[in-house]
Symmetry: C2
Subunit: 577 residues, 2 copies
C-alpha cells in the first residue's frame, strides 16, 4: 500500500485559506515558523510517513502483539520505525520548549499528526498517548515532575499511558474503585485494575509513564473524588537514572477488531508507587485539560484513515477496468473503461474527498482556536475550541470510518480481502468513534454543555463569524439556508431543554451531525472562493459543488429530526427492548 | 453469545400482517402449510439456530479455514453442525418436491433463512450456495441432470458453488476468459481460473457441484457469449455413484475481513469435465433466473446480522450500569442506572429495531411476490419482485451493516474486543453489501432497468398499492408526503434520464435508499395499525413513532439530492481524482 501525504493541501490551508503568515508573527514563539520552515517540516513528515511508517502498517496488523507472562512484544518492524519517529523529535512537536519540546503551532502539528495516523495508526498510538500524557504533566506537574519526565517523553525514550477505565467504569468514571494510599514519603501506593490501556505495556522503550486515576482514602463520592497519579513502570532515581521496577504489570492484552499493532492491556497496579499530579481530588479536571487536544487527535485519526482510504480507492478506480460508460465507451481500445466512468463510483470517491478535505480544514480551524487560546489568552478562542472539540472528535471519526467503508465498496470483492489492505483501514478507523469518549458522549457534551448551557450564544457567534467570510457566490443561498437551519434547530433545542431534561440526549447525535455539515458547507464555500485558477482550484470547486448538491441536503432531514420530542426515543418501556 | 429467533415476529408477519391463511390455500402445494405446521417448522428452525448453529459461530470465526495442497479444512465444529442442518432437510426447504425438496413457500423460507444467517453466517453460506445452485439446475437442467444432482443437494450430501468472477472480471462478466471446449461425448473441457468462489472447496461433503460460467469456441463477444456448465468436483457414474475426481482444484483460499469460517477459493479448472446447463450462450440469463432468490437471500443475511446485533446490544444496554438518567436516578439503589436511561443509546437501539422489523416485513413482502409469480404465474407479482429485489438486496444489507456498527457503538470499548462477539457481526455483515452484485450494482439495476425502462409504471403501481393499505391514522399525513416525494423523484429521474445517460447512475444510490425508506414507512404505518393491543403491539407502535419522527425525515435530503444534475458527480475530470 502506498500513501502520499497531502502536502499541497497543507500549504493551501495554512497559507491561502487561514493565512497563518498574518497570524503567527503576532504570537510569541510562532514567528520562527516561516513558510520555508513549515514546508520543510511538512516535507520531512511526509517522507517519514511514506517511507518509514507506511511500510510497517500492514505487517504490523498481520503480526499483531503478543503477551507472555506480563511482557508484551510489539510487531518486529515497529522497533526501527518507532526509533526513527522519535529520533526526529516528532513526539515533542507541540511540547514545551523549556523541557526539550518544539513549541510548534497546533495547526502545524495537526497536519503532521494526520499524516502519521494515515500511515500507521497502531504505531502512531504509542506516540499519541505519550503526547497526551506529557501535555498533562506539563500543565499540572511540579517543576521537578516536569524535569523528570518531559525530556524523556519528548525524545521518545519513555512513552506515556493513560489509565482511566475499569471493567465496570467506562464513561462513568465516578464509580471507579482504584485506590491510592499515602506513604510516609509523600508518595502513594496505587492499587487497582484498569482495562483498555493503550500502550500500557510494550517493548519499544525502557520506561512507560502511566497516568492513573484513583481515589484517595475518604475521597468524596463520584467524579469529585478522583485524583491523578504519575506511576512509572520503572521508578526514577534522584539523579534521573532508571531505578527499580514498579508494581505495574500487564495482566493480558486484548484481541481487537483492528489497531492490532497497538498493545491494549489490562493493567494491574499492585501497591505501585505513584506521585500525585495536580490537586488531590482534582484528577478528572486535570485529565480534562488535555482532553481538547486528545479528542482533536482522535478526530485526526479518523481524518487520516479517510484520507488513506480515499487515496487507495481513487487509485484503484483509475486502474481497474470494468464495464462501459453509460454515455459511450471512453477507452474503446481497452477491454473495458475504468471505474471512474461510473457515476456511482464517482459519488463514493467524491463523498470521501468532500469530507476529507473539509475535515482537514475544520481540524486546522480548531487547531487555530487552541493556539489562540493557549498563546494569546483569547477567551473567545478557548470557548470556541471547547464548542468545536466534540464535533471534531466525533464528526471527523464518523466520516473517516464511513469513508473507509466507502473505499472498501469501491474495491468490490477485493475490499474484503486482507491482502489489499483496505479492510484494515476500516477495522483501524472504527476505534476512533469509540475511545476517548464515545461519539455519543461527544454529542451529549456538545448539546448539553456547550450549546444548551450558554443558551446557544457561542454557536450563534460561530454562525455570525461564518456568515461574514468570503464565499463563492453560487453557494451563498444554500449556505445561508444551512445557517438558518442550524440557528433554528439551536433555538428549538435550547428552548425545549429547559422543560425536558431528556431532550439534549435525544437530539444530540443529529445536532452534532447538523453542526458538522453546516461548518463543512461554510468551509467548502470559502475554499471554493479562494482556491486558485488551476487544476488544484478546479478540483476544489467541483468538489464544493458536489458537496452542496449531494451532501448538504442531508441537513434537511437532520433539522426535521431534531424538532421531534424526546418521547420518540423515551416512549418504549425498558422491559420491551 | 446467545440468539433467540424472532418467533413471535414471524407469527405476526405471516398470520396478522400478510394473512397467509387467506393466500396459501389458493396456491397449489401450499395448502398443507397450516398455522400449526408453520409454527412447528419455525420452532424447529429456532431451536436449531439457538442450540446448534449459534454455539459454533464465534469459534468458527476464530478457527477459520485452512488450505493445504488444495485441500480445505473448515472449522472443526462446523462438521457436526452442518450435518444436523442437512439432516433436517433444511437445504431443500424451497426445493422441488419431485426431487426431494419440500416446496415450501418462499415467505416461510425467508424466515428460516434469516434465523440461520443470524446464528452462523459462515456455516449458512455452505447451504445457501447449494440452494442457489439447485434452483438453477431445477430451472434449466435436463431431467437427467435434475435427477443426478438435486436429491443430493437437497439432502446436503453434496453442496453447490457458483463460479462467475475472474480476477479481471467481476461486475463486468462479459470480459471473462474461462473457456469450454466440446468433447466428442457431448461434455466439455472447462479451463480457466475463477476467484472468490464461496464453498468452492471444503471438507463438509463428499462432492461439490460447481456451476461455472465459460465461453464456447467462437462464442459472441461480451455477455451474450457466456454459457453455464455443471462441473462436479467428483464425476458421477451412470448409476449415480461417485466416480473419479474431476480436474477441479482450489489454488488458495482468501484471508478475509469476516465470514472466516466460510472458505473462499481461487478455483482452477484444468480441462475439467463439464456439462452444459441450459442453452449454449445463454449462461448469464440462466444465472439470472436464480438471482432474484440469491439476492433476496443476501438481503436476509444483512437482516439476520442486524437482528443478532440488535439482540446483543439491547441485552447489553439492559444489563450495563453506567451513568445516571438526566431526569433523575432510575435505579437509586444501584451504583448507576442502566444504559437504557440514556436517550442516545435508545436512539441507536430503536434505529436498529426499526430497520430490522420493517426489513423482515419487507423481505416477506418480496417473498410473497416470488411465490405468487412462481406458483400463480402472476405477471404483476413477477414484475414487482424484479423491482423490489435490488432494493431488498442492497437496503437490507446496508441497514444490517449499519445496525451492527450501531450495536458495536452501544457496547463502547467492549464492542471492539473480539471476545464479546459484536465486532464479528460487523465484519461478517460487511460482505453482504459487496457480493452477489455490489449494492451500487443493485442501485443501478433498480433505477436504469426497473424504473427508467418502464417509465416508472411499476413503482407508481406499488405506491398505489401501498396507498390503499390500512395504516395508523396518525402516520397518514407523513406517509402521504413520503409517497409524494418518491413519486416526484421518480418522475424527475425518468424524465431526465432520456436526455442524460449518466443520470440513473448518478442518483441510483440515493433513489434506492429513498425507495427503501418509503416502503419501510408504509410497513410501519401498516404494522402500527394492525398490531394487537398488548405489549407486543405497544412496542410496534412506539417503534413506528420513532421511525416516523427520527428516520423518515432522511427522505427529505434524499429527494433533494436526487434532483441534482449528473454534473455534480461527472464534473471532475478523471485525472484530478
Amino acid at each position: 500500500m502506498e500513501y502520499c501525504a497531502p502536502e499541497r493541501e497543507a500549504n493551501f490551508l495554512l497559507f491561502e485559506l487561514f493565512r497563518v503568515q498574518d497570524i503567527w508573527p503576532n504570537i510569541a514563539g510562532f514567528d520562527e515558523f516561516t513558510q520555508d520552515l513549515v514546508e520543510a517540516i511538512i516535507g520531512e513528515a511526509a517522507r517519514l510517513s511514506a517511507e518509514v511508517l507506511t511500510p510497517t502498517n500492514q505487517i504490523g496488523d498481520q503480526e499483531g502483539c503478543t503477551w507472555d507472562k506480563g511482557d508484551v512484544t510489539t510487531p518486529a518492524a515497529f522497533k526501527g520505525a518507532f526509533a526513527e519517529l522519535t529520533a526526529g523529535g516528532w513526539l515533542g512537536l507541540a511540547g514545551n520548549p523549556e523541557y526539550g519540546g518544539q513549541g510548534m503551532p497546533k495547526m502545524l502539528a495537526c497536519l503532521v499528526e494526520e499524516m502519521f495516523w494515515s500511515s500507521n495508526t497502531s504505531l502512531c498510538l504509542y506516540g499519541t498517548l505519550t503526547v497526551g500524557a506529557s501535555l498533562c504533566i506539563d500543565k499540572h506537574g511540579t517543576q521537578d515532575q516536569k524535569q523528570t519526565y518531559l525530556p524523556h517523553m519528548y525524545d521518545g525514550s519513555w512513552t506515556g499511558a493513560m489509565a482511566l477505565t475499569e471493567a465496570h467504569a467506562g464513561t462513568d468514571l465516578g464509580i471507579m474503585r482504584a485506590k491510592a494510599d499515602p506513604n510516609a514519603d509523600g508518595s502513594y501506593r496505587i492499587s487497582g485494575t484498569k482495562i483498555f490501556i493503550t500502550s500500557g505495556e510494550h517493548d519499544l522503550t525502557e520506561n512507560i509513564v502511566h497516568l492513573v486515576l484513583a481515589k484517595l482514602p475518604d475521597a468524596p463520592q463520584g467524579t469529585k473524588g478522583i485524583s491523578l497519579f504519575i506511576v512509572p513502570k520503572r521508578l526514577v532515581n534522584e539523579e534521573g537514572s532508571l531505578g527499580e521496577r514498579n508494581a505495574v504489570a500487564s495482566g493480558s492484552i486484548e484481541h481487537k477488531m483492528g489497531i492490532r499493532g497497538s498493545a491494549t492491556s489490562v493493567m494491574n497496579y499492585d501497591g505501585a508507587t505513584g506521585f500525585l499530579l495536580g490537586e488531590a481530588n482534582g484528577g478528572l479536571a486535570a485529565m480534562f485539560t488535555m482532553m481538547n487536544y486528545a479528542r482533536l487527535s482522535v478526530g485526526l485519526q479518523g481524518l487520516g484513515a479517510g484520507e488513506l482510504a480515499y487515496q487507495q480507492s481513487a487509485s484503484y478506480a483509475r486502474e481497474r477496468l470494468q464495464g462501459r460508460s453509460a454515455s459511450g465507451a471512453k477507452s474503446p481500445d481497452l477491454p473495458a473503461d475504468s471505474l471512474l466512468v461510473h457515476p456511482d463510483v464517482r459519488r463514493m470517491l467524491l463523498t470521501q474527498r468532500a469530507y476529507s478535505e473539509a475535515g482537514r480544514a475544520f481540524a486546522l480551524f480548531v487547531g487555530l482556536q487552541l493556539d489562540l487560546a493557549k498563546y494569546s489568552d483569547d477567551a473567545g478562542a478557548q470557548q470556541l475550541a471547547e464548542l468545536l472539540t466534540p464535533i471534531a472528535k466525533a464528526y471527523l471519526s464518523d466520516k473517516g470510518f464511513e469513508g473507509a467503508v466507502m473505499a472498501q465498496q469501491v474495491f468490490g470483492g477485493h475490499g474484503y480481502i486482507a491482502e489489499w489492505g483496505v479492510e484494515q483501514i476500516v477495522r483501524d478507523a472504527r476505534i476512533a468513534q469509540i475511545y476517548e469518549g464515545t461519539n455519543g458522549v461527544q454529542a451529549y457534551d456538545l448539546v448539553a454543555r456547550k450549546v444548551v448551557r450558554d443558551g446557544g450564544v457561542c454557536i450563534r457567534g460561530l454562525v455570525d463569524h461564518m456568515s461574514q467570510t468570503q464565499v463563492l457566490e453560487g453557494h451563498r443561498a444554500d449556505l445561508n439556508d444551512a445557517f438558518d437551519r442550524l440557528v433554528r434547530a439551536t433555538g428549538s433545542v435550547v428552548e425545549r431543554a429547559n422543560q425536558d431534561p431528556e431532550l439534549p440526549g435525544a437530539v444530540s447525535n443529529d445536532y452534532l451531525e447538523l453542526a458538522g455539515l453546516t461548518i463543512y458547507a461554510w468551509l467548502w464555500a470559502h475554499m471554493a472562493a479562494i482556491a486558485p485558477q488551476n487544476d488544484f482550484g478546479r478540483a476544489k470547486r467541483e468538489t464544493a459543488n458536489f458537496f452542496f448538491k449531494r451532501l448538504l441536503p442531508k441537513s434537511l432531514g437532520l433539522a426535521e429530526s431534531i424538532f421531534a420530542d424526546s418521547s420518540a426515543v423515551m416512549g418504549l418501556p425498558p422491559e420491551l427492548f
